[in-house]
Amino acid sequence: MMEYKKIRLKLEDGNEFEGYSFGYEGSTAGEVVFNTAMTGYPESLTDPSYRGQILVLTYPIVGNYGVPNEEEENNMFLFFESHTLHISALIISDYSAEYSHWNAQKSLGDWLKENKIPGIFGVDTRHITKLLREKGSMLGKVIFNNEEPEWYDPNQDNLVEQVTVKKKEVYGNGKHRILLIDCGVKYNIIRYLLERDTTVIRVPYNHDITKEEYDGLFISNGPGDPKLCKATIDQLAVAYGKDTPIFGICLGNQLMALAAAADTYKLKYGHRSHNQPVLQAGTNTAYITSQNHGFAIDNDTLGKDWEPLFINLNDNTNEGMKHRSKPFFSTQFHPEASGGPTDTAHLFDEFIAMIEASKQQG
């Protein structure tokens, strides 16, 4: 341990945890959240939905397979979910400084250092998780060398503004034109769409979509409080006037609800894991899903045109909704996985099927 310097995490409630620094040697602040997935740290760390968050991984041994190479395909990294890391800091129990994997290029610690993100290991992550579970998500500070930063609540900021694409980008050359409103999209969503014979037109979250021609509209995942993403909500309200298929994921689910005049609320500590069970409403079909969200739709506020599509089997929260007559649907979970289980990938096929049906009618 002698080669590692001390660093600590301070929570809003006054609890402090001292551990060792394995990332960037500096201080930072943000909202502390936990994720219970056992694999997939390269994916999580580059997921824009984690913007502004200090991430606690409950699986204790991290860094085992290092960090993959930066190979690109269609202008996207092959093994990451965006072009950069988004978390503010990483908190783990045991760090594998020496990694082992055929596809690894560097250690997790080196990756964090390069990206100026602090990392702490050697703290009781289960204890922290229990505090977050009992008291709800809290703000936190990572303090290195006694340089204590100000508290920072990312949910006050329009985080989507920070992570959305700056200008329109086009991927692929497939027959279906998908307009993707980027609120912080994960690459795997684009990959999944491209695999299904599409052209993906990725636009900023506040892009005027009325000027675009498309066969299907996609609203991506993203960070923060959905209510701060008014520009997208407004765009959606317009899109509802048409019959073109719409598919939303995660933040996209919440934005679609807000555009339909339903309400959202902040969950006590959110769902961040690879093992969330959801039931397709009114059926006996259940799926294991990958999730990463702190806000949810209030099912009771869904208007008469909408109905729940999926329900969380653990706490009965909304996991998706669909329009009763139009080809609009959304999921709170991540059918694109990466990381996590791929059981609901077929929803992308259903989206394409809707587009094909809509084209035939059209």
């Binding site: 219970t36 699986y59 397979y65 129990s93 594998s96 894991s273 069970p277 259940a286 089997l313």
Partner: protein, 1070 residues
Amino acid sequence: MTEKINKVLILGSGALKIGEAGEFDYSGSQALKALREEGVKTVLINPNIATVQTSSDVADEIYFLPVTPHFVEKVIQKEQPDGILLAFGGQTALNCGVALYESGILEKYNVKVLGTPVQAIMDTEDRELFAGKLREIDVKTPKSFAVTTITDAQKAAEKLGFPIIVRAAYTLGGQGSGFCNNPDQLQILAANAFSYSKQILVEESLKGWKEVEYEVVRDKYDNCITVCNMENFDPLGIHTGESIVVAPSQTLTNSEYHKLRKLSIRIIRHIGIIGECNVQYALDPYSEDYRVIEVNARLSRSSALASKATGYPLAFVAAKLALGYGLHELKNSITKTTSAFFEPALDYIVCKIPRWDLNKFSGVSRMIDSSMKSVGEVMAIGRTFEEAIQKGIRMIGQGMHGFVGNHNLEFEDIEKELVEPTDMRILVIEKAFEKGYSVDQVHELTKIDRWFLVKLRNIFNLKNTLEKVPSLEKLEDDLLLQAKVAGFSDFQLARIILNGNVSEEMQLVREHRKKRGIVPSVKQIDTLAAEYPAQTNYLYLTYSGKQHDVEFFNDRQSVVVLGSGAYRIGSSVEFDWCSVNALKTVNEQGYRSIMINYNPETVSTDYDMCDRLYFDELSYERVMDIHDLEQPKGVIVSVGGQIPNNLAMRLHNSDVKVLGTSPVAIDNAENRHKFSMLLDDLDIDQPRWRELTSLEGIKEFVVEVGYPVLVRPSYVLSGAAMNVVSNSEELEHFLTLAARVSKQYPVVVSEFIEQAKEIEIDAVAKHGELFSYAISEHVEFAGVHSGDATIVFPPQKIYFETVRRIKKIAKQLAEALEISGPFNMQFLAKDNDIKVIECNLRASRSMPFVSKVLKSNLIDQATRIMLDMPVEKPHKSIFDLDYIGCKAPQFSFSRLKKADPVLGVDMSSTGEVGCIGDNYYEAILKAMLSVGYTIPKNNILLSTGPMRSKVEMINSCRMLVERGYNLFATHGTHEFLKLNGFDSIDLAWPDEDKKPNVLDHIAGGQIDLVINIPKNLTSHELSNDYTIRRSAVDYNIPLLTNARLASAFIYAFCKIDLEEIPIKSWREYK
């Protein structure tokens, strides 16, 4: 649930054997619990009387009968069940179920197979069907050819190119399997594999690939989950039962993890399993390429491990799914609020390590490979790999203190040991580091993933750092904590830092670290990594944590029961039954029960069995850690076998209240010298013995007592720890080649009494007064270890006087040792001369057997006595029973390549059964059929050894001839039979170049039963007798090596017709 099922038949797995052990008691018990919860009446067939599942409060009707189509059909006929469950009794139950299905019996009696359909089972069992089935959904299996002749096997190998692997279809855990590097090896292996199966598989070798398993569950609505994945520490090529295994996988990326997960779900759907299955993969360490190695369409050792590793009760859920539930309709058994349709998130790592007992066998190969030899396993839980593996190495219980800090280990050729792994593999890695091998070098030689090796290297480096610390005072807290986080025990730290009298110094380490506030935290296994609040009582201790998940009450209202640890030869499921029954009584008496055990195969480590389960080490250090926190009323050390028994004195010296018999008395019974003096004082006879330090001394003693003598060295170089020698040549041979004798390593020599009966008493005493007891007798004469003996209860062939005197001795000793609790004694009886040969002040292997036959639970009584609670003295006496119980050993020699399948003073059986009959021969026949003997059809080979056993067998031979059996005999036996007027066919010895030869007959499948009685008491490797015995085992022909047992068996099958054996449940014996 779709249609009403009222009564269900469950098939158990029978006796514990290598590849099929305690895990099926656990899975069967879970299934029975699930059925009971649904109000379904349960009928269980399982001759393994020592299991928890064969208890009246677990199943409704229990048949101690062989799990074979004949007996199962009879039970079906009688019980008329609506459904049958085949997935909970291992390969034994599955094979039996498939046979019943194929012969139309299930259809005939309208018994519905619940859960996975039989066709799906058959699709996974037949390798060609299986590969074809997976090909349909584009899932890759190893390139492979199914062949039925050796010639075709050679042709297939040519196409694939060597090395190749050979597998036999339809066998337990890889029997008859192995790697071949050339055509000659293939020739030998294929011949052997064909003796198990008509079809063998010749496959591409994937040696060096990672081995990864998934436990997959599917319900009738097609909902699927994977409960757990596991990664083998050892690369492919080492049977998963022989490998260290971690859960969850450690070196797989998200993409690899989910690629294999997705395939698992595609496979379970396509095969159509309803319930649980296990999918084993080979994963290329240099890409995402994979092969599916195996699918087990049933609960397995891995599923039991996965259940314990995650807290997800797979067998329980599988039984509910078989009844028609959907996963989403069931609740998570741990949180009770969230859904059973989920995948556990672990926030710890578990590490399974196999336990081998190869020392118990002479001649066996120590190499570990694609067939299984281990007899048990442990599971260690930690929050670093280092912590888990070091805990695990200690748990194995073979004198190791962790990855480092072990003395007396030397390996001649480290490189060879690394390339050709043996049971010592993990410790060889440490030696390699010591000799300067790098992680990369070790990786090159072993193909173990570097990640694991780096972690082991961390432990090694930490040891080097600690070695430089001159004293505890100079040990920095950060370094001490770092060592504890990496799983170092107080013992290791004492040895590395202080290096004096370690057992005293470890106490100093303990005191020092407690003063410095360095103590472990208690964490819960809650299936959701703390995401949801859970009231779980499933706990472990770790140094990677600063906070306890549970509160402690300090009210002295809890009782700690110490479990049995890893199953091993001599200690297995019977001590689990004892532990579970002690827990039940503790609960009933209003105390909170606390279990400490670390064996994933057991029922005692099911968190439903107690108020708190500490899945952790049974070491002094850990028991004291838990004791410090829990402050219990006391600790029960007498129901878990020898491991807790050995802790008694040290716990006592640390002011722990040991319940029941005082540890001082335990020590008086355990210490040979003290116990001998006690017997002398009480005027109780014992075989003469002496502890000696030189060969001359031994020879002088032998002059006094005469040969043969029993020799017990304290230091064994190879082979068995005990031996009987008949002359000075054998004595010298044994003490120079196999063992040592010196001042440092004294040898205990005892007179060995031949032709003596061996009798046991299992008893309970209350404050020095004999409270209840059961006396049983061995069928074999003394000289066969009591664990390998066939035991009859109540005794049938001993004098009343003998019984009376044994009872008297037991009373005397109970009084002298002030016994309060269970105890067991063993005696030799010759005429009416009775000598005590052993006394254990703890529960014994035979407690469940006698308790169940008597229908009087000795452990319940003992536990009440230990708790000082009222207990009613049983009024039944052994002479009142109108039926007889017979306990027979199960051997696993077929798994132990080259081991001499002969019985001796050291135990070699891996399991046992206990059957009940209306008379002696019926009980014996049922028991023998239950451990795999079959009634011979025509031909019996006799090689009956010394004159004494030839004479002993003469009546049996007469009966065989009268029954029309053809006798084949080796020369001496042939002559003897001829002299006595019996015809037999004379066969040449294996080493004679003559026909007809014994070996040809065995290999040709012309012999139905082999009786080979060894000529003397020493095992001779490579002798003719050995070759006959070994071939019988290798060609899967029933073998008997004891004249008295052979006679009893022959009598039984000649007197009783299979069809006439009454089918009676346990309840019906009154």
